[in-house]
Subunit: 211 residues, 2 copies
């Protein structure tokens, strides 16, 4: 996402008509990813998103049917972005399975520090906001997390097969446990402006499952 | 809080002047606790809070200097409410220390089901919103959680002294680990409309620390 944010800044406010519709649409989604990751849906106004991209409010509905349609697209884009990130770590055959989990967590910690604890997890934000969001949004958010659970479960299954976990370990349950705690750790890190909660959760999680 | 919500409903919209200022003020704070626990700060308008209590918008500033001052009072009230709840469980000498933690978690699960996954944790909500909230709010939220950590650490210290934990267990670190994961579990429970994440986190946590 950092790269996208940079592209966005470089893009600045282009004179009207200088970008193609598909590019503008993508720029709106990218800006949405950043803002929803920082503040969530309720605190983010459409106008604020458009300000970042530098297009007038009226044209928003040229690209998206509604705020909900936009939020669904942002969730999809964030899901795809995060999937790539996760796979880069969890499917990295140069590392042993549990080291891959560590490498993902280290990446997340670096990102948290780089953005000075302003950006958490878009999916975690939406989880807290779920009572004010539509059922469609809730289901999409849930699907994204299920995907992460599956990716991590596969990595843990490999760890189990290679004898790094106790033989009665349940990769699917451990994966669900991880994501539950990790989302909590990301939230707490932002609140305390410290990486300590992420470090603590990660360490205890790995300690607890290592054979 | 359920009792308070009921009182609120019973109260209905009283004719102007039928309640004392201190009662009205408390009723606004109680309504704030419910709404902020369901939706967080950004999605909750002052008007919505006042609608529940049945007083006109203009009079809000008679009771509170600003929305921030109101939010700080709501955090204080929620902190005090939750402290009483936690102490009822964690200081219950009729149960063994780890059973007290279970009894707290069971209470939380019942509350989550009773409110049909609409209400999570006000403190967790604010944690996700922290980038859009003031530094004062952030510090107050952090203080509330630190209080919960201290209460649980004391209970875990007792468990350690009685030999229920492995001798090298660190009550303070385990308590921080618990709250991090538990906030994540509450969030995920709301998102998936299922108690499973709370059950899973609680079970794994106790399994992991029991001697």
């Amino acid at each position: 996402m950092e790269k996208k944010a940079k592209q966005l800044r470089r893009r600045g406010r282009p004179p009207a008509g200088s970008t193609l519709p598909a590019e503008t649409r993508q720029a709106i989604i990218d800006a949405g990813m950043v803002l929803l990751t920082e503040k969530g849906v309720s605190a983010t106004g459409i106008e604020e998103v458009l300000n970042v991209v530098g297009i007038p409010k009226g044209s928003f509905y040229h690209y998206f049917k509604s705020k909900e349609a936009f939020v669904l697209e942002v969730i999809g884009a964030y899901g795809a972005y995060f999937d790539r990130k996760l796979k880069r770590h969890l499917e990295n055959k140069e590392l042993r399975p549990l080291e891959r989990i560590e490498s993902f967590m280290d990446d997340a910690k670096r990102g948290m520090a780089r953005h000075e604890f302003r950006r958490g997890c878009l999916i975690g934000n939406l989880g807290q906001e779920v009572s004010s969001l539509s059922e469609k949004v809730r289901i999409d958010v849930e699907m994204v997390i299920s995907g992460w659970e599956a990716l991590l479960a596969t990595c843990l299954q490999e760890a189990l097969s290679l004898g790094y976990l106790s033989p009665d370990a349940n990769p699917a349950a451990l994966s669900a446990f991880f994501w539950t705690g990790w989302e909590g750790a990301v939230m707490r890190a932002r609140m305390s402006r410290s990486l300590a909660p992420m470090v603590l959760f990660g360490t205890k999680f790995l300690e607890g499952i290592r054979r």
